[in-house]
């Protein structure tokens, strides 16, 4: 089955006062229908910028997509006009942002906001529109949807609002759903419910999903594959189980070791030494070299290529040079 989305060698640069930052530096990945790819990494590692590049909404004028291709069902989004992109956004690619508190317009009722994309995508009017909107709210498990349509955002809890945002994102329904840390500001029980809901929606509509997070617990729960980003590059990608059991890249290993575990109370949590790199002044060679416990001569000289370590698991690290 061909992938829904295929990102090939994507480069997005940010022009800042301190120089040009390669926010996304040669990222490639694919996601198929009903598959979830987790995108993890520290703040500033390029996760969000990668996804904004897919929908061509990188913050202008500072950011610019300078190379690569983004194939959605085989069509390159980077060659489309802005008008074509507007027709694609929401209809083919939905996105859920992090903060449910500000992702709804405070001056309009939920109903008006949910109806907007529905009427835009399906051209519905009147009763049919109203029913479809209520149906959407019901599909994200909002109790008594017809009444909730009359509510205003401030009258709903964070979890409810995030469900409304979810409902609007699947109004089309799209082929690809990008969720940018959608559960960060929800409390834990609501998080679990929301993740379950996303999985159901994915199953129902056959969505390909990209899930951005720094929470590895969520990755293990909801993702099929995971891509670890560092300084604008994917340093390791593979099936979740493999990555968790035998991480190949020292950065992935460090990330996994810094998760607090129940029962393991021996000593302190492991932190990753050093600071995230200054993206405007990346070292030649591997970006992680300054913080890497296994750093070698070669790491500082040359950037490591993609090396396949196991079935579906690829890393960029000299430790795994084929002999």
């Amino acid at each position: 089955m061909p992938p829904v989305i295929e990102v090939r060698d994507l480069h997005t640069h940010l022009v800042t006062r301190w120089g040009t930052v390669k926010a996304v530096d040669g990222v490639s990945f694919t996601v198929s229908a009903r598959e979830t790819l987790g995108l993890v990494g520290e703040s500033g590692s390029g996760k969000s910028m990668t996804c904004l590049s897919i929908v061509r909404l990188v913050p202008r004028p500072a950011a610019r997509i300078v190379g690569g291709s983004v194939l959605l069902d085989g069509e390159d989004l980077l060659t489309k006009t802005e008008q074509e992109m507007q027709r694609l956004r929401g209809r083919k690619v939905g996105m859920i942002l992090q903060d449910p508190m500000s992702s709804l317009n405070p001056v309009f009722s939920i109903g008006r906001q949910v109806r907007e994309p529905v009427s835009m995508y399906h051209g519905l009017r009147g009763r049919a529109l109203q029913e479809r909107a209520a149906g959407l709210l019901a599909s994200v498990r909002i109790p008594s949807p017809a009444e909730r349509l009359r509510a205003f955002p401030h009258q709903l809890s964070g979890g409810m609002r995030q469900r409304v945002v979810g409902a609007m994102a699947i109004a089309a329904p799209p082929r690809l759903l990008i969720a940018d840390e959608p559960t960060t500001s929800l409390d834990l029980t609501i998080q679990a419910q929301y993740l379950q809901l996303l999985e159901e929606l994915q199953e129902k509509h056959g969505l390909a999903m990209i899930f951005i997070t720094h929470n590895l617990g969520i990755v293990s729960k909801i993702c099929d594959r995971v891509a670890v980003m560092y300084a604008g590059r994917i340093v390791e990608v593979g099936p979740v189980r493999r990555i968790f059991q035998s991480p190949a890249h020292p950065y992935t290993r460090a990330l996994l070791e810094s998760i607090p575990r129940l029962g393991a109370r021996l000593g302190r949590l492991t932190a990753i030494e050093g600071q995230p790199p200054d993206l405007a002044r990346l070292p030649t060679g591997c970006a992680f070299a300054p913080r890497c416990p296994h750093v070698m001569e070669r790491c500082r000289a040359e950037a490591p290529p993609e090396i396949t370590v196991a079935q579906g698991q690829v890393t960029r690290c000299w430790l795994h040079t084929p002999a």
Partner: protein, 298 residues
Amino acid sequence: MPGDTPGGGLVLAEVAAPTAPASRSRNVPYVSLGIITVFVLLAVLAPLLGLADPFNQSLRNRFKPPVWEEGGSWTHPLGTDRLGRDMLSRIVWGSRVSLAAGVLTVLVASAFGAAVGLVAGYYGGQVDTALMRMTDATMSFPVILLALILAVTVGPSFTNVVVAIAVILWARYARVIRGQVLTLMHLDFIAQARLAGAGAWRIITRHLFPNTLNTLVVLVTLQIGYVIIVEASLSFLGAGIPPPTPAWGSMIAEGREFVTSAWWVSMFPGLAILLVVLAFNLLGDWLRDTFDPKLRQL
């Protein structure tokens, strides 16, 4: 135990009840609304009130004092002016000019200014820079000077007054609305609308504009008072509404030579301006406190 708490607790309890500002902001300014309603009614119903003809001159009746002064009569409750025209009637008819100028000017200015602010804030970058330079330049130009130029070149008229003030006044709206849009643009619902496929027009009209309405209403109300004063100043200077049309500003001007002998000729139109402007300002303040207490700088 409340009874057991030492003195500190008592002090705290007293301090913790500063309800005055909050309750005041909820006090609807009935007096202001009343004044505005009265003047609007007077302006609208002026021809139906059975008042004396505001243009009717009668040199025998010039400088008649108001009814409560010696020599006054109920035929001219507020006295007459230099040409024997009825003051009350002229003030009522003058309210038409002042209110119409205030409302019309502010509507034109706010519509244009808001549009500029929305576009500048939404597009940012060079569009923003260009539009804001234009705004700054406009704001540094004195209204009175522009009106005088218009009056000299085109001749004074109601339209010119509205144009002269609106051409300068929009800049205030552009600035304030742009500032608001800049903060709104960082909120996720704008990003979310874009992600849902909304274009510039839809985002500006459906998402940004409705969120700036509160500010606009407050600013419009506050500015009506200001425009009434500017219009009166222009009429006072002879660059506003040309005589014999009754306008409060020109009425003050006509009476100023006789202030010592016939104080009412200048005083009553002045009082009318004071009342209306004060009413609009108080209403605007209340709207601001109620709608958005964060807008202190307006």
